[in-house]
Symmetry: C2
Subunit: 209 residues, 2 copies
């Protein structure tokens, strides 16, 4: 029964990813996915119970690679800490300029399936964004920033706002605006840490990982 290493299953998910990301969920038929994968629809239904399962698999397959990319962009960046956070947005701006870019697959799927709140794909999307937020928060805590959790949420808002707005206007410069806002908010948080001195309760958040 279809493990995730199964080559046929992998091909199906790859085809589904291509099509769902490019066209949207309800705009892509199961037949189209099967044909793009070079198999028949029945084979697809051997590997997936329903189209909903296939949609969930599409997002599940994007989860780790997406997170890894963000982390890599941060790790390969240089400069002061706020600049390194901003670097994530700058890299994303470059990606958004590619003609096949269509925003965030998780967000777009959520928007399209907003009438099905318990849909498995939405749960996967929510978990993905929570992981990203948690990673940011941990990094902010490592920098001994006091409001690490709130700052991480603010970064998420800027990121997802940029996804939405850049897609709407087809203007990647909004991603750079987000980078600036992120840099400003992180820098301000760092400045508060520096000024606050020893009166605040930063002791609990100081040590790195």
């Amino acid at each position: 029964m279809a493990r995730s290493s199964d080559p046929t299953r992998t091909r199906i998910v790859a085809a589904a990813s291509r099509l769902f990301y490019a066209e949207g969920i309800r705009a892509v038929s199961v037949d189209a996915v099967a044909e793009s994968a070079g198999i028949t629809k029945k084979t697809l239904y051997y590997h997936f119970r329903s189209k909903d399962d296939l949609v969930a698999a599409y997002l599940a397959a994007r989860d780790q690679p997406n997170l890894a990319l963000f982390k890599r962009w941060f790790e390969e960046s240089e400069g002061a800490f706020p600049d390194r956070i901003a670097a994530i947005f700058i890299n994303l701006a470059a990606a958004a300029r590619h003609p096949k870019w269509r925003g965030c697959g998780f967000l777009r799927t959520t928007a399209e399936l907003a009438n099905l709140p318990g849909h498995p794909a939405i749960k996967i999307g929510a978990a993905h964004k929570k992981k990203f937020e948690a990673w940011l928060q941990a990094m902010f805590e490592a920098e001994a920033i006091a409001g690490a959790a709130e700052l991480a949420r603010q970064m998420l808002l800027l990121l997802d706002g940029a996804f939405a707005v850049v897609l709407l206007h087809r203007d990647a410069s909004y991603m750079e605006t987000a980078a600036e806002a992120a840099r400003a908010l992180v820098a301000a948080a760092l400045a508060r840490r520096a000024k606050a001195g020893k009166t605040t309760r930063r002791t609990a958040a100081r040590r790195a990982s």
Copy 2:
């Protein structure tokens, strides 16, 4: 030929708005809209050339009322200028807690129709967001804020990010996080103005948190 004051046409658009916002575009059939409006499909096609036209009419009908609501929320707010900007987000947080809330109709339509970049509905959505941004920018300029344009764009990013994230997690508290970020960014911009200029028009940009 069907003016926008036409009562039948108005009924159709009202039904379309209800259904498209609640369920999404491709999830709602033209038959469903017609039935909900209490007419036949052919009558609908008498008033609208195609489903795409109907989708555009749905968003066009939301444009002015949405903008008016945001402006009203600002005008009815009290306190210092950054708090009044934040008030928009706070009001939106309350709206997002209603069970029938499904995010921003413009953004969700854009996400669903991302494979049709020139779609008339997307143009209407883009124009709507541009109007909102221009309104913010004008207000920031009235406050003599130097980077008014960029600050307006940052507000837009926070707003649309909050739309997306609140919809994803079904957690309206992210809207309040966005309010805080907005307040911080606006207050910082005001502080820069105060430092740079010669104390022209002091608004008490004092934050509580």
